[in-house]
């Protein structure tokens, strides 16, 4: 393609990317480097229905003057990134020096909000992603063998978990696993322990969240793989059959290699999605047991006093995390591409 043609083809996409991807990133990076001004506090008489008292409040005029002077706030560099709410450099160093064993160090690390969130996020990503791929493939293979008349309806029902709004799906499951819900009660009966509660134990809550993650995303993998299965080269399958390949061998040596580019694609999307795990934590009210970076951003913005700089710093860290996570896959794709050229 000529450079000129390419330019005009790319221009609309390029503009949209600039507007909706590049500029927000620039904005969020900037916000993470600045914090609000030092608060100017005054003590004034405050009267409420109960009493009048001297209370501390913010001096609006002085604050307005400060904002006028430097509208961006205070430049603090990477201070927010290194404070306790984020990478917590000094707290980590202190934990390293004060702990006798590596286990003790990890325990202290887990006490810091960022590392606790990362701990859950990483486990979630690396448990849910492979399970989603495996489940998706299994469902796709199963549906592919279903009688053509039933296929439509089976596909529809297999897709349902993905169609449901994530938060609603999480809430449905949340009430089912409640100790008075249908699954919760069934588990209590099976375990013979009437005090068993999925929501009260960190381990069980993690498992519930991961089951939700797989339940919700498996249909996505299924659709992709099912589409891939429709393009299977029948001559290769038949050749393999004539050569005496068993069902399992055909799957292992013909079908999976054929679907491999799709597996990469699903893995890429799922790594990205699962790293941003958020809805189930809110839906399950699980913040006592599991947090993630996205949840931390939500929490910073949801308190009575919003912490924009802190939320911005966590957002930048999330972007870097996604980039890091995707880099091996991206590098591989790039190599494949170069190999072909």
């Amino acid at each position: 393609m000529k450079h000129r043609t390419f330019f005009w083809f790319f221009l609309p996409t390029g503009l949209a990317m600039l507007l909706f991807i590049a500029m927000p990133i620039v904005s969020v990076v900037t916000q993470s480097l600045f914090t609000p001004h030092e608060a100017v506090l005054v003590t004034v008489e405050t009267c409420t229905p109960f009493s009048c008292a001297q209370e501390t409040t913010i001096d609006q005029e002085a604050t307005a003057a400060l904002r006028e002077q430097s509208p961006m706030g205070r430049f603090v560099g990477f201070d927010i990134y290194t404070d306790r709410g984020h990478l917590a450099f000094s707290e980590v160093a202190q934990a390293w020096h004060s702990s006798d064993s590596f286990g003790e160090f990890l325990k202290q690390l887990n006490n810091l909000p960022f590392y606790r969130a990362m701990g859950f996020t990483i486990v979630f990503v690396f448990v849910v992603t492979p399970l989603v791929i495996a489940m998706g493939l299994l469902i796709a293979l199963a549906v592919n063998t279903v009688n053509a008349r039933l296929k439509g309806i089976v596909i529809f029902f297999s897709l349902l978990p993905f169609v449901i709004t994530p938060l609603i799906g999480a809430l449905v499951l949340f009430w089912m696993i409640d100790s008075r819900g249908i699954i919760g009660t069934a588990l209590q009966w099976m375990a013979g322990d009437p005090s068993l509660s999925l929501k009260a134990s960190t381990g069980l809550m993690w498992i519930s969240l991961m089951i939700y993650g797989v339940w919700h995303a498996a249909p996505f993998a299924f659709v992709i793989f099912y589409a891939g299965l429709q393009t299977l080269p029948m001559d290769q399958i038949e050749a393999a059959q004539i050569d005496g390949a068993s069902r399992l061998q055909r799957l292992r040596y013909v079908i999976i290699p054929h679907l491999m580019p799709l597996v990469t694609f699903v893995a890429l999307i799922q790594l990205m999605d699962n790293f941003r795990v958020f809805e189930p934590i809110v839906g399950f009210n699980a913040s006592a047991h599991a947090t993630s970076l996205s949840w931390a951003i939500f929490n910073d913005l949801g308190g009575e006093t919003r912490q924009l700089s802190s939320a911005a710093a966590t957002s930048v860290i999330t972007i870097l995390g996604v980039a890091l996570l995707l880099s091996p896959v991206l590098v591989r794709t790039w190599r494949d591409y170069k190999g072909k050229v």
């Binding site: 405050t46 409040t57 709410g85 707290e91 005090s195 913040s287 006093t305």
Partner: protein, 408 residues
């Protein structure tokens, strides 16, 4: 959803019939606020105005959206219904206007104690008082032969008897959901223990104290008698437990207690046994382990004067004394509105005020403390760390946040 709409429609119909005064406005009004019954009535009253559109957005997530919705110019919301905790966020960002001129022009009938005055300027109009206090099952306490508890220690003793006699497995209810609710219970209990969240005259935290440790120990002891899922139970879930007859003793908001057993499908024994008493004290203190609250409305700064005036008129109609003639509305809250005759449901909040309960602090940095407590105390409540460590963590989290916001 249907029921809620139905209730609003009912309140509207009641208002239409009782408010003889017509309410005419000439500019848009848009209200954001919490969703409990009393606020639904205020919203419905404002919507009874004619002449221009009155929109309401009443949701439990109001505090997440009111500030962004008022920072624009013009602001999306012309009025935010707030409480003494949430007005601080709006004051910190300077998005609400002084109401002195509007009160002079349209505020006839407001009582002096309804005017929230900060540095001589009226910043909000309060319409109800609120506090958490004891809600219990009189029939269950009668069965074990004890009086309604006056202290948390007595509550524990009663809970133990109820469990041991096999009446209920988890007789104590509490809105201990991780986050805002858990922090609120700490704030209550800590004040009851005689603690103070900040060092005098500064934004330095002061919770890692002996009173703080005793507070957490009491909360932990109470949680042993709660549904094991207590860290996921907010006020709504706690009320559901009470309605289902699983809970006999709980510390609950006056604004929610009043209508607690009027929901559909509550068992008759729960309806009959339902009773309210004042807040409890703790650790031998005389000040209740609770906080006093007021709810009121504000008018946005970034709107035209016409819109501000229309908003003021509509909100005044939402808190009109005529509403006090409606029995259903009257029970919904402890109204500060002229002509309010207390109902039995108001007993708890009145007792709280009479016992010198401390109002929830209106400090600019209290919100950060609340958030830090809500996140950092869960490890202790789960039994994963010591009380000292949890309080140390909460202080550290607060300090990081307060530094960012320029308070330290």
């Amino acid at each position: 959803m249907f029921l809620k709409k139905f209730a609003i429609a009912g309140a509207m119909a009641a208002l239409m019939s009782t408010s003889a005064l017509a309410c005419e406005i000439s500019a848009r009004v848009s209200i954001v606020g919490n969703e409990f019954p009393a606020i639904q009535s205020v919203g419905a009253g404002a919507q009874a105005c004619t002449g221009a559109e009155v929109k309401t957005n009443l949701t439990a997530d109001h505090q997440k959206i009111n500030l962004p919705g008022m920072q624009g110019n013009p602001a999306e919301y012309t009025s935010a219904i707030i409480a003494n905790s949430s007005i601080v966020a709006l004051m910190n960002e300077d998005v609400i206007r002084p109401l002195d001129d509007l009160v002079a022009k349209h505020g006839q009938g407001l009582k002096k104690n309804q005017l929230i005055t900060i540095d001589g300027k009226i910043m909000a109009v309060a319409f109800m008082a609120n506090a958490q206090h004891l809600v219990y099952r009189a029939d269950v306490l009668e069965k074990i032969g004890v009086q309604p508890p006056k202290t948390y220690e007595e509550m524990l003793a009663a809970a133990k008897m109820i469990r041991e006699q096999g009446i209920m497995e988890n007789p104590v209810g509490g809105a201990y959901a991780a986050g805002w609710n858990l922090a609120e219970e700490f704030v209550n209990m800590y004040l009851g223990m005689g603690g103070s969240h900040f060092k005098p005259g500064s934004a330095e935290p002061n919770i890692n104290t002996e009173a703080g440790i005793k507070t957490l120990e009491m909360m932990k002891a109470l949680s042993d008698y709660m549904n094991p899922d207590f860290l996921t139970h907010d006020s709504n879930a706690t009320n559901a437990e009470f309605r289902a007859g699983n809970v006999a003793l709980m510390n609950m908001w006056g604004s929610r207690a009043a209508t607690l057993v009027s929901a559909d499908g509550v068992a008759q024994e729960v309806v009959d046994g339902f009773a309210i008493d004042g807040p409890m004290t703790v650790g031998g203190g005389s000040i209740p382990a609770s906080t006093l609250w007021w709810d009121g409305w504000t008018v946005a700064k970034n709107i035209s004067d016409e819109e501000a005036e229309a908003t003021f008129i509509a909100m005044m109609n939402g808190i009109s004394p005529a509403m006090m003639a409606n029995e259903e509305i009257r029970t919904q809250a402890v109204w500060l509105i002229d002509g309010y005759q207390p109902t039995d449901a108001a007993k708890g909040v009145f007792a709280a005020a009479g016992m010198n309960t401390i109002p929830y602090p209106m400090l600019p940095y209290m919100g950060l403390m609340h958030t830090a407590l809500g996140n950092e105390l869960v490890d202790f409540m789960k039994g994963d760390e010591s009380a000292e460590q949890a309080l140390k963590d909460a202080e550290a989290a607060y300090i990081a946040a307060a530094k960012e916001k320029g308070f330290l």
